[in-house]
Symmetry: C2
Subunit: 192 residues, 2 copies
């Protein structure tokens, strides 16, 4: 019961964090601002999340849980046909994409608290995508790559497009470009 | 003459900045540390670069100038055959790639001082790459895309691979993956 209340409180804090980011931007999302929004002291908030980075990582883990279909955990959770929809969905929620992209950028610096999260996440995401591609295409994709080598590029395109799109949403059609890439992976269609 | 000395001083500051980043990481590269290294007061350094972000942007602009062949400015400066070599070269200089990637990540947040630099840079880089691809392949690449649509993906792959590689250099073969992508753009080879 105490545990259920604590879980609820955590979820409430994560929602509040997104709202604060939406209003004040990533750098303005201080622990103090989040605490105020949920009616906690900053000390009380630290009980749930010891640092701002821990809080932001939790927001992103929550996003991943949603995006991969909620606790299913089976291989192929990143089904290829769904990835296009995910990119379209992301194009409608710049705030969470911005949070993800800003934190990914920071995480590559030495000793950043989110570095472990992202390193593990990418290992998992690459393996999940490779499994999906193998289930769909076997050991070689029509475009000629192995599932593992295609997975690295798939993830790179997803991330790289987000930066270009966030910087210049008018100039970059993120879902369209991702569709172009899937077309390259699938190789030339039968001329008919 | 005063101008030449000032240019020289700027170049010296940029070199010192890279050294400081190499030693202390991106976040540890304070204006104070850079000033000390070049024997300026912090006030003196601010005369050349008013903020840390301005200094880091200047470092990256300097990198771009080198990477595109130094002031030539002609179309096709990003020659496709050279891009593979650039990726191999980048794989040997993690510090500058890390600086670039961390600053790109930050730049997508609201009102970041490097946002304008990156937005302009990507507009130019996409246009330059599209021109290169058009010169080489005409209006349609063998893989089926227009030069403009291929250029967006080319840039996305370059950036996205850098994040995966910085986080986990053992797991990600950045030059190999980029070569895979060039292969997709070029389409299936003649079976012979």
């Amino acid at each position: 019961m105490a545990r259920a209340r604590s879980e609820e409180r955590r979820a409430e804090i994560l929602r509040a964090t997104l709202e604060v980011i939406a209003e004040r931007g990533y750098r303005g999302a201080t622990l103090g601002a989040v605490a105020e929004r949920v009616g906690l002291t900053q000390q009380g908030l630290l009980h749930y999340f010891p640092t701002k980075e821990a809080l932001l990582v939790a927001v992103l883990e929550d996003r991943d849980r949603w995006d991969t279909g909620g606790g299913g955990g089976e291989e192929g959770a990143w089904r290829l046909e769904l990835l296009g929809s995910l990119v379209e969905y992301n194009a409608m929620r710049p705030v969470i994409v911005q949070t993800f992209s800003a934190l990914l950028g920071e995480s590559v610096t030495e000793d950043h608290p989110a570095r472990g999260f992202f390193t593990r996440r990418y290992t998992q995401v690459r393996a999940g995508m490779a499994a999906t591609l193998r289930a769909e295409y076997g050991d070689t994709l029509p475009g000629g790559l192995s599932p593992e080598r295609a997975a690295v590029l798939l993830v790179a395109v997803l991330d790289g497009l987000q930066y270009q799109w966030l910087l210049d949403p008018e100039a970059v059609d993120m879902p369209g470009a991702f569709g172009d890439f899937l077309g390259l992976l699938k190789g030339p269609e039968d001329p008919s």
